[in-house]
């Protein structure tokens, strides 16, 4: 199986789907001639031309809405947000147009579109460019929200997303683009379904529930915990909407303890929803309160010293496990 970076896996998924279906097109800022800010779309402008790889003006509401219109008649737009932070500007189009079309038309129309881009902290991008918005999106019925943690999932889930007839928010963490992993690009038509969590690491004493880049943070925490004789199971939920609660609950029935880990602001993040559900459904299995580790509740500061304070790391996860231990 070839080893690819997360970035290249995404690009390969775009290529596969664009080759497979001429109605798939890409739109976003600087994705074409400039090859994409994070280089996910590198080479695609030359390969598919300006009609399928469209450089958009800096008008997120405009081009997102345009994509919704095109999707309503069956095209399959893949919209790149240069960073997911900028999707805040397009929220009205996402929430009020994309997510509601199927319902408001009574099923007459659907919106087969993907909005993808880096979400979460990169490196010192300051307060306005460091948002984790997946929790907001996962709150919205009509959307699907996908948060792959590995190159293989990035590949398989982006293909699934493009084929999905519903609007899919596809969040990539900037810290993952360079991550390498095996990706079954050559094994026929590999896709990864939504709503199926992945046991990233097996364990018996505590369940760490995470997604996107926090999965590797949890894996690192599990390494540390192992040294102290604590066996942590890491559940990578992979999609927030749909959410595979079955796998989460099954793990907790085994471990009797859970910590939910997410990069987004702790208060009101989607981790709260996951924790609340665990509390509701696993009450009798739980030997301790459901722990949570989230980003600090502050606008991310520029200073690297302060920024690092904001982002959860493996030590924070270990501390949370100890707290409920």
């Amino acid at each position: 199986m070839p080893t690819l970076t997360y970035r290249d896996a995404l690009r390969q998924a775009l290529i596969d789907e664009m080759d497979r279906d001429p109605e798939v097109f890409l739109i976003g800022e600087d994705i074409g001639r400039y090859q994409g800010t994070f280089r996910v779309t590198q080479g695609l402008f030359d390969k598919y031309g300006k009609d399928r790889v469209i450089d958009a003006p800096i008008t997120e509401p405009g081009f997102t809405g345009m994509a919704v219109g095109a999707a309503m008649v069956g095209l399959r737009p893949v919209v790149e947000m240069m960073t997911m932070s900028f999707s805040i500007l397009a929220l009205d189009q996402v929430i009020n147009s994309a997510a509601k079309v199927h319902s408001m038309t009574g099923g007459q129309a659907s919106v087969p579109m993907v909005i993808r881009g880096p979400g979460g902290h990169a490196n010192q991008l300051s307060a306005q460019h460091s948002h984790s918005l997946e929790g907001w999106y996962a709150h919205v019925p009509g959307l699907k929200v996908v948060v792959p943690a590995t190159p293989a999932d990035a590949y398989g889930m982006l293909k699934t997303a493009i084929r999905d007839d519903n609007p899919v928010i596809f969040t990539e963490n900037p810290g993952l683009y360079a991550l390498k992993g095996e990706v079954p690009t050559e094994s026929g038509d590999f896709t990864v379904p939504f709503g199926k969590a992945r046991i990233a690491r097996e364990g018996t004493d505590v369940t760490l529930v995470a997604y996107s880049r926090m999965v590797s943070v949890c894996e690192a925490a599990a390494d540390l915990l192992e040294k102290d004789g604590i066996s942590a199971e890491v559940v990578d939920v992979r999609s927030l909407l749909p959410l595979d609660t079955e796998t989460i609950y099954a793990s907790i029935q085994k471990t009797n303890r859970a910590v939910v880990v997410y990069e987004d602001w702790r208060s009101g993040g989607f981790g709260a929803e996951i924790a609340a559900r665990i509390g509701e459904e696993c009450f009798d299995s739980l030997d301790a309160p459901v722990g949570r580790v989230g980003g600090l509740n502050v606008p991310t500061p520029y200073s690297r010293v302060l920024e690092l304070e904001c982002i959860p790391n493996e030590h924070d996860v270990v501390a949370a496990v100890r707290k409920i231990g």
Binding site: G65, M72, S103
Partner: protein, 338 residues
């Protein structure tokens, strides 16, 4: 109203009768919607098109129906009806019944007839304008010569996303016509209090888009202008901005009672001279196209038709409670319960 209409009629009496019938149908249908609202058969936000009929009739009649695309905001009952949707279905939707195109989930503001090319039906002011560009984009992408009409209000013409859309439409030569229906009010705010320059067609200028201010009251004139512009856009594959001057004779929505807050009775009275039905009746008489008796007969006929529409719609059932979970996703159930 131009004095010279007599000499310049280019439409046949049959066509003119069609327009008249359509305008009367819309007028009566809308009046009935207001009744439905007042009697509690319809709720929510309900906006009627009284005073703006000539705009809808002139423009929709210039399209290739079943091929071209139309999208509009929330004052929309007229569009699907003109495009062939059963009026009973529209009325049922307005009443929230299952025989509405959205099975009662959309209501007055969210009517769609996708097979016929009517794409709603949107409540966020200005928010549908990029969708209009998207429909045109799709047609162009597929090398189809469909034209898209995107109707919006004078108030909507201030929304940022509309300008973003104009830039994209011009940048990528999208075959879409933005029709700003300037009915002089955005809810309770007069044109001059919401737009720094009240000539709204000028919004096309910074993007090099052809733009005109046109009459929206004389349906024959509207039809001519509409046909010219639609043909041009189909031919040239470029966008167009049109400002159509009409007038809203009714409240903003069915719940907008106190119109004295934003206009005088005299102003409304004066504008009655511009009422599109009044104008068309006058033209038909002056040109001996139809007698007053015939007009009255048609009006009564349509009045009855609307009564029939209304009572048929009333017979349509309310949705089953379980339908609340339908149509959220194409392929996936949602979690149930509170």
């Amino acid at each position: 109203m131009p004095k010279s209409v007599k000499q310049s009629l280019t439409q046949s009496p049959t066509e003119i009768e069609k327009y008249f019938r359509e305008m009367v149908l819309i007028r009566k249908f809308e009046e009935k919607c207001n009744v439905a609202y007042r009697t509690g058969k319809a709720g929510g936000y309900l906006h009627v098109y009284i005073g703006q009929e000539a705009t809808g009739v002139g423009w929709i009649n210039s399209l290739k129906l079943g091929w071209d695309y139309v999208i509009a905001a929330y004052r929309i009952h007229a569009f699907p009806i003109l495009m062939g949707t059963e009026p009973v279905a529209c009325m049922a939707e307005i009443m929230g019944r299952v025989d509405g195109p959205s099975r009662g989930k959309g209501g007055s503001m969210h009517i769609y007839d996708i097979p016929r090319g009517f794409f709603g039906g949107w409540g966020i002011v200005g928010g549908h304008t990029p969708l209009g560009a998207g429909l045109a984009f799709a047609a162009k992408y597929r090398k189809e010569d469909r034209v898209t009409l995107c109707f919006l209000g004078d108030g909507a013409a201030n929304a940022g996303v509309f300008f973003e859309t104009l830039n994209m439409a011009a940048l990528w030569d999208l075959p879409v016509i933005f029709i700003i229906e300037n009915n002089e009010f955005a809810m309770g705010t007069r044109l001059e209090y919401h737009a720094a320059d009240t000539e709204l067609h000028k919004r096309g200028f910074p993007f090099g888009i052809k733009h005109e201010r046109l009459d929206g009251m004389n349906v024959l004139q509207v039809k001519e202008d509409a046909q010219r512009i639609i043909d041009w856009v189909r031919e040239n594959q470029k966008p167009y901005v049109v400002e159509v001057m009409n007038y809203r004779f009714v409240g903003h929505g069915a719940a907008d009672n106190d119109q004295t807050l934003y206009r005088t009775a005299e102003e409304v009275e004066q504008n009655k001279e511009r009422d599109p039905l009044h104008i068309l009746r006058k033209i038909m008489m002056e040109n001996n196209i139809m007698t007053e008796e015939k007009m009255e007969a048609i009006e009564s006929e349509i009045e009855e038709q609307v009564e029939e529409i209304y009572s048929q719609a009333l017979e349509s059932p309310h949705p089953e409670k379980s339908e609340v979970y339908d149509h959220i996703y194409t392929d996936m159930p949602v979690e149930k319960g509170h």
